[in-house]
């Protein structure tokens, strides 16, 4: 059997990028309403060279479907998949734990509380995007509370952070359940359910643009920290002894992950499993160094989420299943298969 680790990294990156491009094109055709290739191409032309010229006379219905529904959905899959994949790679390196994911630092429970509270209590004073802003802010607040409680004499011991994170997340989840049981109006129920299970439907260009820039900056920060994150995999004492400022790396990385993942969760809801498995697939292909794992996780996260999203649209006719259900449903068997076929001893000791 070919060991994929031995193939040149450039070729693997090129292949993943090509696969993503094909998937993006394919996804343009996926949806409950059929739009012709001509209209999709014409809409893309119009977008590139000015929306109001429209020499191809695209029907308004098709233009709305392509420009306002499918494109943001596809791009959201890329942004959300990248942020969750990178977040997973970073968090697993910091905690030296293969079963951690970005949600473990408190992002998911915080965002859930913010979103559920804003929907449940009909909080709209922050305008159209109140739920997103609430989810984002609550996610950050919970992460910083966990980080603050975990600090001990200027250091944040990772096991301590992990335990505090899990405890506070459970505490916040019980608040979410309380809000759900006592306050949710009937019309909010479906929105909340879709949010808690994760969905890429109905994301607007405006929110996507803001989130895109947050993810871009935080991903770059994580990427710039790759050497520090690599040394931390050998233990904090080792990292310090080779010259890494471990506490600063932890702080910068956790802030970057918290900002990036909170931002994507605020628009997509809680899409599970991506942050957990994607970095492992990256490592199986490229080895353990975050120099490759971080960009690979962005690509694989995008590919995985886009596939899952296409499946969620196709699986039941005229009905869209929340993508978070598909990520776990399809992701688990695929991941177990990959682990068996590609691990080559890495996970056996």
């Amino acid at each position: 059997m070919i060991n994929l680790r031995n193939i040149d990294s450039k070729i693997k990156f090129l292949f993943l990028s090509f696969l993503l491009l094909i998937l993006v094109i394919f996804s343009m055709f996926i949806g409950p309403v059929r739009v012709s290739m001509y209209d999709i191409g014409a809409t893309l032309y119009n977008e590139t060279f000015g929306l109001f010229l429209d020499p191809f006379k695209v029907p308004e219905k098709d233009f709305v479907i392509v420009y306002y529904l499918r494109e943001p959905e596809i791009l959201a899959a890329l942004v959300v998949g990248s942020a969750l994949g990178i977040g997973g790679a970073v968090v697993q390196s910091i905690f030296r734990n293969p079963i951690t994911e970005p949600y473990i630092i408190g992002v998911s429970s915080g965002a859930a509380l913010g979103a559920v509270a804003s929907i449940g209590y009909s909080i709209t004073f922050l305008g159209f995007y109140s739920t997103q802003i609430f989810a984002f802010l609550f996610a950050l607040i919970i992460v910083f509370i966990i980080y603050g409680i975990s600090s001990r004499r200027g250091r944040v011991p990772v096991t301590y952070f992990l335990l505090i994170g899990i405890s506070i997340s459970l505490f916040v989840s019980s608040l979410v359940a309380y809000v759900l049981i006592t306050n949710v109006k009937l019309e909010g129920e479906e929105v909340i359910l879709s949010w808690l299970l994760g969905s890429l439907q109905a994301i607007t260009w405006k929110e996507l643009t803001v989130v895109f820039f947050i993810v871009l900056v935080t991903s770059l920060v994580s990427m710039l920290n790759y050497r520090e994150l690599d040394t931390m995999q050998m233990g904090e004492d080792f990292a310090r002894s080779v010259g890494v400022n471990v506490e600063r790396t932890k702080k910068v990385s956790i802030v970057a992950v918290a900002l990036g993942v909170s931002a994507v969760v605020s628009i997509s809801g809680l899409i599970g499993f991506v942050g957990l498995i994607v970095p492992h697939v990256g490592r199986l292909l490229f080895g353990g160094s975050n120099r490759y794992v971080i960009p690979a996780s962005a690509l694989i996260g995008s590919i995985f989420l886009l596939c899952a999203n296409d499946l969620s649209t196709m699986i039941i006719s005229q009905e869209v299943v929340p993508v978070g259900i598909i990520t776990a449903f399809v992701g688990v068997p695929v991941f177990i298969y990959l682990l068996h076929k590609l691990a080559v001893g890495s996970y056996e000791s």
């Binding site: 690599d230 995999q233 050998m234 233990g235 004492d237 002894s241 080779v242 010259g243 080895g287």
Partner: protein, 249 residues
């Protein structure tokens, strides 16, 4: 190179250690003593990994606590007692990690692995190695780091006879190349055969320090370990055998 420790006090939970004055200069220094005597704590303070409650450690007159991590890493490298399992790293990747504060040179990775006798393991998956092989890889890392002071915490753990022999040769070679080495050891025979000088610790205090020949004697060993030792007169080198009163009588 000179390591000087003054008025040092370390607290780790209920464990306390204090060293009024200790001076170590050049050569191979053994840090010896029973379990829990504060050997690892002492070397971790020297490498700046543990903040002491008070006192200071000076290396060639420079206070270690006042250096940043990079400055320290250029002077001191540390072979830890515990070895973590990173995700999917190859042996050469692990060695390269030690060059974080250095210039990084692919050729020197091979040289370091050659020096510890495992050049063939370069492309092996680190997590699939035996405990002893992992320790040799980490030792290669400390060589790759190219600092003037090398601290080794229990380097003989998991090593078989052949690898122990390699370790001793490497320590001697590094010392000949002008490196100062602090090595935490359990085994008295290893202390005697590997080190020029020794610091003997018990319950967080320095019992004695100086040339290994003068420090490792029946009286000091009995004080520190609480059991009697006798010098093996049949051995060419200084060798001590535990002397069990109950069995003898």
């Amino acid at each position: 190179m000179k390591v000087e420790i003054n008025n040092l006090e370390i607290r780790l939970g209920s464990f306390r250690s204090s060293v009024n004055h200790l001076s170590m200069e050049n050569g191979v220094w053994g840090i010896a003593g029973p379990n829990g005597s504060g050997k690892t704590s002492l070397v971790k303070v020297i490498d700046g990994l543990i903040e002491p409650v008070s006192g200071n450690v000076n290396i060639d007159g420079k206070n270690v606590q006042e250096m940043n991590y990079r400055e320290r890493a250029k002077i001191i490298s540390y072979l830890p007692q515990e070895i973590a399992n990173p995700f999917n790293f190859r042996v050469s990747d692990v060695v390269k990690l030690s060059g974080y504060s250095g210039d990084g040179n692919e050729g020197r990775v091979a040289d370091a692995l050659e020096m510890v006798g495992i050049p063939d393991l370069k492309d092996r998956e680190f997590s699939t190695l035996s405990g002893g092989e992992k320790r040799l890889v980490m030792l290669a890392g400390t060589i790759y780091q190219n600092s003037s002071l090398i601290i080794m915490d229990e380097p003989e753990t998991f090593l078989d006879i052949k690898h122990k022999h390699i370790l001793k040769k490497v320590v001697r070679k590094l010392s000949r190349n002008g490196k100062m080495i602090l090595v935490v050891l359990h085994d008295i025979e290893s202390i005697v055969s590997m080190t020029d000088s020794t610091v003997l610790l018990s319950q967080g205090q320095v019992v004695d320090s100086g040339t290994t020949g003068s420090v490792i004697n029946e009286k000091n060993l009995e004080t520190v370990f609480g059991i009697r030792f006798i010098k093996d007169s049949s051995s060419q080198t200084a060798r001590f055998i535990e002397y069990d009163d109950e069995v003898d009588t």
